[in-house]
Amino acid sequence: MTRIHSATELEEVRKGIVSKKDPNKPCVAICGGTGCLGGRESLIHAFEEEVKKQSLEGKVDVRVTGCHGFCAQGPNIVIYPEEICYVKVRPEDASEIFSQTLIGKKVVDRLVYTDPNTGKKAVHQSEIPYYKKQTRNLLGANPKIDPRSIDDYLAIGGYSSLAKALLQMTPKQVLEEVKKANLRGRGGGGFPAGLKWETARNARAELKYVICNGHEGEPGAYMDRAIFQGNPHLIIEGLIIGGYAVGAQQGFIYTRHDMPRLRENIDLALKRSEEYGFVGKNILESGFDFQIEVHLDVGIFVSGEASALMRSIEGKAPEPRPKYTRTAVKGIWDRPSNLNNVETWANVPQIIDKGADWYAGIGTERSKGTKMISLSGNIVNTGVVEVPFGTSLKEIVYDIGGGIPKGKKLKAVHFGAAMGGTLPAELIDTPLDFDVLAKLGAAIGAGGLFVMDEDTSMVSMSKFFLDFLANESCGKCVPCREGIRQMLRIFTRMSEGKGKEGDIETLEELCEVGSLASLCALGKTTSSPIRSALRFFRNEYEASIKSAEPTAERSSAANQEG
């Protein structure tokens, strides 16, 4: 493959790719997300076989893409150029889809999405309520590109932001643009990315690093892998631009070990971007050198914490350290290391391409852009959603999420899993906003939105979260290790109907000590779900202590969608 040396050459290559693509060539885009395929390849094989059977090699493309987002209706496919969406597609459907739609140009009615509320059929994404209400600035490209093809990414304008940043802007200008856009970290804290970049940029050191955190260990959060697996070049492009702004020559990608397709796509994307010259020495003849190395998490929650993750990249056990000195100043091997989450990096190319003013026009006053949310729990439409900040939780849960299954009532929504917070149904009109939600004790976290129906017991939820944390605490500091254990003991008693007077006060004390004295974010925020439950569901805790009855565990083990 030829190396690209300049912006002009990049545009020529792009034109060449686009001119070779026939926009009217039929294509079956199969969602390759785990939610759709479940680790099986049979659906892909069925379509590939059908191409051979019908002797349509070269005339019909079968494209395995990243997550389309509508996991509840999976396996999802889209037929191009008409952009017909089929849901719940099985391998047996392949031959009918070929004969009816790809050859006969007719829609197969039974595979079209039907709105359960209105009974209306929706043939295109733009007509399906789940997609209609979203703004898919990041995820929108997923069905349109093959994540394993750098040409597909170039065809939709890929790497033009990198060329613009390297060749038309100084590192300082790139930094200022990101600051002006007020891009805030999507990994949990919501800290302004530009300010973090600036700290790393201003730190005195010859070697600096930028890191993409794709650990995504928060239960119920799966949007990062959706975008990383489906559009890996987008994140790589963002990371290189970040490296340029910060003054780093080395980037690290830290991602999950347990998703083979994700890792394959990242490895292949890196290889291709090196071949084209977007990674390596003297990128686009700009004089900027940048390398990227992939590291894998090996199955422990705390290794997603910034300082622990950096230890892991050094090749050590991922124990967090106190952050008296920020990792942006002293991180990997004590060098300035700027870490951002996958989604944060994914936002960078569009900010450079369309400008900070465009970006800042989306969202609320202090939360800009869109946010990817993974919907889970007692909700009809489980899946990955992307909405502008400012969208109300009600719109997300009802208009997009389709509400609560089996006609049950909404009890609460919960952000941030075991380290997040719960909001009662009465606050469902709250807008999606970093600061508004943090004030209510339910910080967005990474963006996992967990929905609970009326049958959920808050005592057993609290016990569940503590059970998880007790297993995941690294054990280095006492407040986290012992505090979680003691809190879990209390909730276990409460759920057995053996709660006693004074339990709530003890919990409050343990929460306070844990949040003040723990070493890292894991220990500091373990008390968050309990604090928010105490704020909105204190009665339920009290009633559980008084009643001396065991808490009813959820009895249904059946599929909630019904």
Partner: protein, 177 residues
């Protein structure tokens, strides 16, 4: 719980706990270890990646293999054991041919994964973290596998068995012999 005659073969033999002794499972040969170490340039900070490749291929980390890795990378054995015991993916004991993973994420929990785990434990007679003595199954119930639509679910060797009920478990396990 009545498990029926048809599945008695699922729980043959005694269970082997975390501390159980196990003599089976051969260590990897040295040339393969060298290949893996070389793949990562023999750098000390690649120790986690090296161990992971070995774990993937060999399904566990025998002590003599760890000693060789320690020697080749120049990383003290104590440090390697610190890593190997810290991360959940690493196992210092042989694992079963099939790794059964019952998702215990929030969404699966909410949809009844507790009952699925109970049924699996009942059928194969081991608890999470254990391996059957015939080395057929290992059981894990770690958190979220990122497929909340599929919950409650059980993953066996990378294949997701989704939206299952306790009644489905036996038929699924029968396919893994």
């Amino acid at each position: 719980m009545e498990t029926g005659e048809s599945c008695s073969h699922l729980r043959e033999g005694n269970r082997l706990g975390r501390s159980g002794r196990m003599e089976v499972g051969r260590a990897m040969d040295e040339s393969r270890i060298n290949e893996i170490v070389d793949k990562y340039g023999g750098k000390a900070n690649s120790v986690i990646m090296v161990l992971m490749d070995i774990q993937h291929e060999n399904h566990w980390l025998p002590r003599e293999v760890l000693e060789k890795v320690s020697h080749k990378l120049g990383v003290p054995l104590g440090e390697i054991l610190h890593i190997a015991t810290f991360y959940k993916t690493f196992s210092l004991k042989p694992q079963g041919r099939y790794e059964v993973h019952v998702c215990a994420g929030t969404s699966c929990h909410q949809r009844g994964s507790g009952k699925i785990l109970e049924k699996v434990q009942d059928l194969i007679g081991i608890s999470p973290g254990e391996t059957t003595s015939d080395l057929r199954f290992s059981l894990e119930n770690g958190s979220c596998l990122g497929c909340c639509t599929l919950g409650p679910e059980m993953v066996i060797d990378g294949v997701h068995h989704s939206n299952i009920t306790p009644d489905d478990v036996e038929d699924i396990l029968k396919n893994y012999t």
